[in-house]
Protein backbone atom coordinates (compact mmCIF):
# COMPACT_ATOMS: atom_id res chain seq x y z
CA UNK A 1 0.00 0.00 0.00
CA UNK A 2 2.73 2.46 0.91
CA UNK A 3 4.38 2.53 -2.51
CA UNK A 4 0.97 3.09 -4.06
CA UNK A 5 0.15 5.90 -1.67
CA UNK A 6 3.51 7.43 -2.48
CA UNK A 7 2.59 7.83 -6.13
CA UNK A 8 -0.81 9.28 -5.45
CA UNK A 9 -3.04 6.46 -4.23
CA UNK A 10 -5.54 7.44 -1.60
CA UNK A 11 -6.39 4.03 -0.19
CA UNK A 12 -6.70 0.36 -0.81
CA UNK A 13 -8.90 -2.68 -0.43
CA UNK A 14 -7.43 -5.71 1.19
CA UNK A 15 -8.61 -9.14 2.21
CA UNK A 16 -6.31 -8.86 5.21
CA UNK A 17 -8.86 -6.39 6.57
CA UNK A 18 -11.24 -9.27 7.22
CA UNK A 19 -9.08 -10.26 10.17
CA UNK A 20 -6.81 -7.32 10.97
CA UNK A 21 -8.72 -4.19 9.96
CA UNK A 22 -7.15 -1.93 12.56
CA UNK A 23 -3.62 -2.68 11.37
CA UNK A 24 -4.58 -1.80 7.80
CA UNK A 25 -6.14 1.47 8.91
CA UNK A 26 -3.08 2.16 11.06
CA UNK A 27 -0.67 1.86 8.12
CA UNK A 28 -2.84 4.26 6.16
CA UNK A 29 -3.05 6.71 9.07
CA UNK A 30 0.69 6.55 9.75
CA UNK A 31 1.48 7.23 6.13
CA UNK A 32 -0.93 10.14 5.97
CA UNK A 33 0.61 11.58 9.11
CA UNK A 34 4.01 11.45 7.44
CA UNK A 35 5.33 8.73 9.75
CA UNK A 36 6.83 6.72 6.96
CA UNK A 37 9.23 4.61 8.98
CA UNK A 38 6.52 3.40 11.33
CA UNK A 39 4.18 2.78 8.41
CA UNK A 40 6.79 0.73 6.61
CA UNK A 41 7.60 -1.29 9.73
CA UNK A 42 3.98 -2.32 10.14
CA UNK A 43 3.74 -2.96 6.41
CA UNK A 44 6.58 -5.49 6.61
CA UNK A 45 4.70 -7.38 9.31
CA UNK A 46 1.51 -7.20 7.32
CA UNK A 47 3.26 -8.66 4.27
CA UNK A 48 4.08 -11.80 6.26
CA UNK A 49 0.47 -12.11 7.31
CA UNK A 50 -0.79 -11.38 3.83
CA UNK A 51 1.08 -14.31 2.36
CA UNK A 52 -1.21 -16.56 4.41
CA UNK A 53 -4.33 -15.00 2.93
CA UNK A 54 -2.92 -14.85 -0.57
CA UNK A 55 -1.59 -18.39 -0.75
CA UNK A 56 -4.30 -19.83 1.48
CA UNK A 57 -7.03 -19.03 -1.02
CA UNK A 58 -10.58 -17.96 -0.22
CA UNK A 59 -11.34 -21.19 1.62
CA UNK A 60 -8.16 -20.79 3.68
CA UNK A 61 -9.00 -17.16 4.40
CA UNK A 62 -12.50 -18.09 5.57
CA UNK A 63 -11.17 -20.91 7.68
CA UNK A 64 -8.56 -18.82 9.46
CA UNK A 65 -10.87 -15.82 9.93
CA UNK A 66 -13.51 -18.17 11.37
CA UNK A 67 -10.97 -19.85 13.61
CA UNK A 68 -9.50 -16.64 15.06
CA UNK A 69 -12.75 -14.67 15.29
CA UNK A 70 -14.49 -17.73 16.76
CA UNK A 71 -17.18 -18.09 14.11
CA UNK A 72 -18.99 -21.44 13.92
CA UNK A 73 -16.95 -24.22 12.40
CA UNK A 74 -19.92 -25.09 10.21
CA UNK A 75 -19.85 -21.67 8.49
CA UNK A 76 -16.32 -21.59 7.15
CA UNK A 77 -16.71 -23.37 3.82
CA UNK A 78 -16.97 -21.71 0.44
CA UNK A 79 -19.97 -22.46 -1.70
CA UNK A 80 -19.38 -25.59 -3.73
CA UNK A 81 -17.56 -26.50 -5.86
CA UNK A 82 -14.74 -24.52 -4.20
CA UNK A 83 -12.77 -27.20 -2.29
CA UNK A 84 -12.97 -27.33 1.49
CA UNK A 85 -9.94 -26.27 3.51
CA UNK A 86 -9.45 -29.49 5.44
CA UNK A 87 -5.74 -30.31 5.41
CA UNK A 88 -4.48 -30.06 8.95
CA UNK A 89 -1.04 -29.21 7.68
CA UNK A 90 -2.39 -26.28 5.69
CA UNK A 91 -4.50 -25.15 8.61
CA UNK A 92 -1.47 -25.05 10.86
CA UNK A 93 0.54 -23.23 8.22
CA UNK A 94 -2.05 -20.50 7.61
CA UNK A 95 -2.60 -19.93 11.33
CA UNK A 96 1.10 -19.43 11.88
CA UNK A 97 1.46 -17.22 8.83
CA UNK A 98 -1.40 -14.79 9.39
CA UNK A 99 -0.79 -14.42 13.11
CA UNK A 100 2.30 -12.34 12.40
CA UNK A 101 0.00 -9.36 12.74
CA UNK A 102 -1.94 -10.55 15.78
CA UNK A 103 0.01 -8.68 18.46
CA UNK A 104 -0.17 -5.38 16.56
CA UNK A 105 -3.90 -5.77 16.04
CA UNK A 106 -4.48 -6.62 19.69
CA UNK A 107 -2.50 -3.62 20.79
CA UNK A 108 -4.47 -1.32 18.47
CA UNK A 109 -7.74 -2.76 19.75
CA UNK A 110 -6.64 -2.18 23.31
CA UNK A 111 -5.73 1.42 22.54
CA UNK A 112 -9.18 2.00 21.05
CA UNK A 113 -10.97 0.97 24.22
Amino acid sequence: MIPALSVGGTGCITGVGNLYPRSCVKIYDLYRAGELEAAQKLQYTLAVSELGFGDGGINGTKWVVGELLKYPESSRDCRRPYPKFVSQEKQEWILKQVRALEADEASLQKQAK
Binding site: G15, N18, E50, G66, S75, R79
Partner: protein, 253 residues
Protein backbone atom coordinates in the same frame (compact mmCIF):
# COMPACT_ATOMS: atom_id res chain seq x y z
CA UNK B 1 -0.42 15.22 3.56
CA UNK B 2 2.02 13.09 1.60
CA UNK B 3 -0.32 12.13 -1.21
CA UNK B 4 -1.04 15.80 -1.88
CA UNK B 5 2.64 16.56 -2.02
CA UNK B 6 3.04 14.01 -4.77
CA UNK B 7 0.58 15.86 -6.91
CA UNK B 8 -2.79 14.46 -5.94
CA UNK B 9 -5.74 16.17 -4.39
CA UNK B 10 -6.34 13.11 -2.30
CA UNK B 11 -9.68 13.71 -0.68
CA UNK B 12 -11.23 16.38 -2.81
CA UNK B 13 -13.51 14.15 -4.84
CA UNK B 14 -16.37 14.10 -2.41
CA UNK B 15 -18.48 16.82 -4.02
CA UNK B 16 -21.26 14.59 -5.26
CA UNK B 17 -20.14 11.16 -4.36
CA UNK B 18 -18.88 9.25 -1.33
CA UNK B 19 -15.14 9.00 -0.88
CA UNK B 20 -13.22 5.98 -2.13
CA UNK B 21 -10.12 6.66 -0.07
CA UNK B 22 -8.80 4.73 2.90
CA UNK B 23 -9.13 1.06 3.73
CA UNK B 24 -12.05 -0.81 2.18
CA UNK B 25 -12.52 -4.42 3.20
CA UNK B 26 -13.81 -6.98 0.69
CA UNK B 27 -16.01 -8.84 3.15
CA UNK B 28 -16.19 -12.59 3.18
CA UNK B 29 -19.64 -14.16 2.78
CA UNK B 30 -20.47 -16.90 5.27
CA UNK B 31 -22.63 -19.88 4.37
CA UNK B 32 -24.27 -22.60 6.42
CA UNK B 33 -23.66 -26.28 5.76
CA UNK B 34 -27.28 -26.90 4.76
CA UNK B 35 -27.66 -28.60 1.41
CA UNK B 36 -28.31 -25.25 -0.28
CA UNK B 37 -25.54 -23.48 1.62
CA UNK B 38 -27.70 -20.48 2.48
CA UNK B 39 -26.03 -17.36 3.88
CA UNK B 40 -25.41 -17.72 7.61
CA UNK B 41 -26.80 -14.34 8.61
CA UNK B 42 -25.81 -14.60 12.26
CA UNK B 43 -22.15 -14.94 11.34
CA UNK B 44 -22.46 -12.51 8.42
CA UNK B 45 -23.91 -9.74 10.57
CA UNK B 46 -21.39 -10.39 13.29
CA UNK B 47 -18.56 -10.09 10.78
CA UNK B 48 -19.91 -6.91 9.18
CA UNK B 49 -20.24 -5.32 12.61
CA UNK B 50 -16.72 -6.39 13.51
CA UNK B 51 -15.37 -4.72 10.37
CA UNK B 52 -17.35 -1.51 10.70
CA UNK B 53 -16.65 -1.16 14.43
CA UNK B 54 -12.93 -1.46 13.65
CA UNK B 55 -13.06 1.85 11.82
CA UNK B 56 -12.50 0.80 8.20
CA UNK B 57 -13.39 3.37 5.55
CA UNK B 58 -15.59 1.21 3.36
CA UNK B 59 -16.97 -2.27 2.70
CA UNK B 60 -16.91 -4.14 -0.60
CA UNK B 61 -19.54 -6.85 -0.98
CA UNK B 62 -19.55 -9.63 -3.56
CA UNK B 63 -15.94 -9.13 -4.52
CA UNK B 64 -13.72 -12.14 -5.08
CA UNK B 65 -13.34 -12.68 -1.33
CA UNK B 66 -17.12 -12.46 -1.03
CA UNK B 67 -17.55 -15.25 -3.61
CA UNK B 68 -19.48 -12.93 -5.91
CA UNK B 69 -20.03 -15.45 -8.65
CA UNK B 70 -21.94 -17.78 -6.31
CA UNK B 71 -24.39 -15.13 -5.07
CA UNK B 72 -27.86 -14.41 -6.47
CA UNK B 73 -28.90 -10.82 -7.07
CA UNK B 74 -31.36 -11.06 -4.20
CA UNK B 75 -28.60 -12.19 -1.88
CA UNK B 76 -26.36 -9.36 -3.01
CA UNK B 77 -29.11 -6.84 -2.27
CA UNK B 78 -29.64 -8.41 1.14
CA UNK B 79 -25.93 -8.12 1.87
CA UNK B 80 -25.97 -4.43 0.98
CA UNK B 81 -29.01 -3.80 3.20
CA UNK B 82 -27.49 -5.70 6.10
CA UNK B 83 -24.27 -3.72 5.76
CA UNK B 84 -26.08 -0.38 5.60
CA UNK B 85 -28.13 -1.32 8.65
CA UNK B 86 -25.02 -2.32 10.59
CA UNK B 87 -23.33 0.94 9.56
CA UNK B 88 -26.32 2.97 10.74
CA UNK B 89 -26.48 1.07 14.02
CA UNK B 90 -22.80 1.75 14.58
CA UNK B 91 -23.03 5.46 13.85
CA UNK B 92 -21.53 5.40 10.34
CA UNK B 93 -24.66 5.79 8.16
CA UNK B 94 -22.73 7.06 5.15
CA UNK B 95 -20.08 4.35 5.09
CA UNK B 96 -19.15 3.79 1.43
CA UNK B 97 -20.44 0.41 0.23
CA UNK B 98 -19.42 -1.16 -3.09
CA UNK B 99 -21.19 -4.12 -4.70
CA UNK B 100 -19.54 -6.47 -7.17
CA UNK B 101 -21.26 -7.36 -10.43
CA UNK B 102 -20.82 -10.77 -11.96
CA UNK B 103 -23.13 -10.85 -14.99
CA UNK B 104 -22.10 -12.18 -18.37
CA UNK B 105 -24.12 -9.67 -20.37
CA UNK B 106 -24.34 -5.88 -20.29
CA UNK B 107 -28.02 -6.17 -19.45
CA UNK B 108 -27.37 -8.48 -16.51
CA UNK B 109 -24.53 -6.30 -15.19
CA UNK B 110 -26.82 -3.27 -15.36
CA UNK B 111 -29.47 -5.13 -13.37
CA UNK B 112 -26.80 -5.65 -10.70
CA UNK B 113 -25.99 -1.92 -10.77
CA UNK B 114 -29.67 -1.08 -10.34
CA UNK B 115 -29.96 -3.58 -7.49
CA UNK B 116 -26.90 -1.98 -5.88
CA UNK B 117 -28.53 1.44 -6.01
CA UNK B 118 -31.89 0.22 -4.74
CA UNK B 119 -30.30 -1.59 -1.82
CA UNK B 120 -28.23 1.46 -0.83
CA UNK B 121 -24.75 0.79 -2.23
CA UNK B 122 -22.57 3.68 -3.43
CA UNK B 123 -20.46 2.01 -6.11
CA UNK B 124 -20.62 -0.95 -8.50
CA UNK B 125 -17.43 -2.93 -8.97
CA UNK B 126 -17.74 -4.14 -12.53
CA UNK B 127 -15.91 -7.14 -13.97
CA UNK B 128 -15.46 -7.64 -17.73
CA UNK B 129 -17.88 -10.31 -19.01
CA UNK B 130 -15.65 -13.04 -20.40
CA UNK B 131 -17.81 -15.88 -21.70
CA UNK B 132 -17.33 -14.54 -25.24
CA UNK B 133 -13.73 -13.62 -24.53
CA UNK B 134 -12.77 -14.37 -28.15
CA UNK B 135 -14.97 -11.49 -29.28
CA UNK B 136 -13.94 -9.02 -26.58
CA UNK B 137 -11.46 -6.74 -28.32
CA UNK B 138 -10.11 -3.66 -26.57
CA UNK B 139 -12.83 -1.59 -28.21
CA UNK B 140 -15.51 -4.08 -27.20
CA UNK B 141 -14.35 -4.00 -23.59
CA UNK B 142 -14.30 -0.19 -23.56
CA UNK B 143 -17.76 -0.05 -25.12
CA UNK B 144 -19.01 -2.44 -22.45
CA UNK B 145 -17.82 -0.21 -19.64
CA UNK B 146 -19.12 2.93 -21.36
CA UNK B 147 -22.56 1.41 -21.90
CA UNK B 148 -22.71 0.24 -18.30
CA UNK B 149 -21.53 3.62 -17.03
CA UNK B 150 -24.04 5.47 -19.25
CA UNK B 151 -26.93 3.65 -17.64
CA UNK B 152 -25.75 2.71 -14.16
CA UNK B 153 -27.42 4.61 -11.33
CA UNK B 154 -24.27 4.24 -9.23
CA UNK B 155 -20.68 5.19 -10.18
CA UNK B 156 -18.69 2.38 -11.76
CA UNK B 157 -15.36 1.06 -10.51
CA UNK B 158 -13.65 -1.11 -13.12
CA UNK B 159 -12.63 -4.45 -11.68
CA UNK B 160 -9.65 -5.55 -13.73
CA UNK B 161 -8.86 -9.13 -12.77
CA UNK B 162 -7.67 -11.05 -15.85
CA UNK B 163 -7.24 -14.15 -13.67
CA UNK B 164 -11.01 -14.60 -13.40
CA UNK B 165 -11.91 -13.03 -16.75
CA UNK B 166 -10.33 -15.43 -19.24
CA UNK B 167 -7.24 -13.22 -19.32
CA UNK B 168 -9.08 -10.10 -20.49
CA UNK B 169 -7.11 -7.07 -19.39
CA UNK B 170 -8.05 -3.41 -19.20
CA UNK B 171 -4.75 -1.80 -20.10
CA UNK B 172 -3.54 1.74 -19.60
CA UNK B 173 -4.56 3.05 -23.01
CA UNK B 174 -8.07 1.69 -22.44
CA UNK B 175 -8.12 3.38 -19.06
CA UNK B 176 -7.07 6.64 -20.71
CA UNK B 177 -10.29 6.37 -22.69
CA UNK B 178 -12.50 5.12 -19.85
CA UNK B 179 -11.24 7.69 -17.36
CA UNK B 180 -12.96 10.34 -19.45
CA UNK B 181 -16.38 8.93 -18.58
CA UNK B 182 -18.01 10.89 -15.84
CA UNK B 183 -19.58 7.84 -14.22
CA UNK B 184 -16.42 5.72 -14.15
CA UNK B 185 -14.60 6.61 -10.96
CA UNK B 186 -11.88 4.01 -10.55
CA UNK B 187 -10.18 0.83 -11.65
CA UNK B 188 -8.73 -2.15 -9.89
CA UNK B 189 -5.84 -3.18 -11.98
CA UNK B 190 -2.95 -5.51 -12.59
CA UNK B 191 0.73 -4.60 -12.09
CA UNK B 192 1.47 -3.16 -15.49
CA UNK B 193 -0.92 -0.38 -14.63
CA UNK B 194 1.56 1.08 -12.27
CA UNK B 195 3.08 2.75 -15.26
CA UNK B 196 -0.25 4.32 -15.99
CA UNK B 197 -0.70 5.06 -12.32
CA UNK B 198 2.41 7.18 -12.08
CA UNK B 199 1.72 8.86 -15.38
CA UNK B 200 -1.82 9.83 -14.50
CA UNK B 201 -0.65 10.93 -11.11
CA UNK B 202 0.17 14.33 -12.54
CA UNK B 203 -3.27 14.69 -14.11
CA UNK B 204 -5.17 14.20 -10.87
CA UNK B 205 -7.11 11.35 -12.37
CA UNK B 206 -8.75 8.43 -10.65
CA UNK B 207 -7.76 4.82 -10.51
CA UNK B 208 -8.08 1.73 -8.47
CA UNK B 209 -5.10 -0.54 -8.78
CA UNK B 210 -5.08 -4.12 -7.67
CA UNK B 211 -2.25 -6.55 -8.14
CA UNK B 212 -2.74 -10.11 -9.08
CA UNK B 213 0.72 -10.87 -10.35
CA UNK B 214 2.73 -13.38 -8.40
CA UNK B 215 5.97 -12.29 -9.99
CA UNK B 216 8.04 -10.13 -7.72
CA UNK B 217 10.63 -9.44 -10.36
CA UNK B 218 8.08 -7.96 -12.68
CA UNK B 219 6.72 -5.86 -9.89
CA UNK B 220 10.16 -4.55 -9.11
CA UNK B 221 10.75 -3.71 -12.75
CA UNK B 222 7.53 -1.81 -12.80
CA UNK B 223 8.47 0.09 -9.73
CA UNK B 224 11.82 1.03 -11.16
CA UNK B 225 9.94 2.46 -14.06
CA UNK B 226 7.53 4.22 -11.78
CA UNK B 227 10.21 5.71 -9.63
CA UNK B 228 11.70 7.46 -12.62
CA UNK B 229 8.46 9.28 -13.18
CA UNK B 230 7.07 10.15 -9.83
CA UNK B 231 7.46 13.67 -8.57
CA UNK B 232 8.52 12.57 -5.13
CA UNK B 233 10.80 9.57 -5.57
CA UNK B 234 12.08 9.90 -2.04
CA UNK B 235 8.63 8.94 -0.83
CA UNK B 236 8.79 5.55 -2.48
CA UNK B 237 9.72 2.60 -0.34
CA UNK B 238 10.62 -0.97 -1.09
CA UNK B 239 7.74 -2.45 -3.08
CA UNK B 240 8.41 -5.82 -1.47
CA UNK B 241 7.32 -4.35 1.83
CA UNK B 242 3.64 -4.58 1.22
CA UNK B 243 0.98 -7.19 0.60
CA UNK B 244 0.77 -6.53 -3.07
CA UNK B 245 -1.68 -9.20 -4.03
CA UNK B 246 -4.57 -7.88 -2.02
CA UNK B 247 -4.30 -4.16 -2.14
CA UNK B 248 -6.65 -2.13 -4.12
CA UNK B 249 -5.59 1.46 -4.58
CA UNK B 250 -7.22 4.49 -5.94
CA UNK B 251 -6.71 8.13 -6.40
CA UNK B 252 -9.18 10.91 -6.74
CA UNK B 253 -9.75 13.74 -9.11
Amino acid sequence: MPSNESGIAAQTVTMNRPALGGIHVPSLTFFSTSSKQEIDWDTQNKHLRFLIASGVHGIVLAGTNGEAITLSRTEKSELVRATRKAARDLGAPNLPISLGTSGTSTRDVLDDCTAAKEAGADFALVLVPSFFHFAMTKDAICEFFEEVADASPVPVVIYNFPGVAAGLNVDSTMLDRLAKHNNIVGVKASPNLYIFYARRNTDNNIAYVRWHSQDHKTLRDIFDFTILRTRRPERLVDPCSFGWRHWLHHWSR
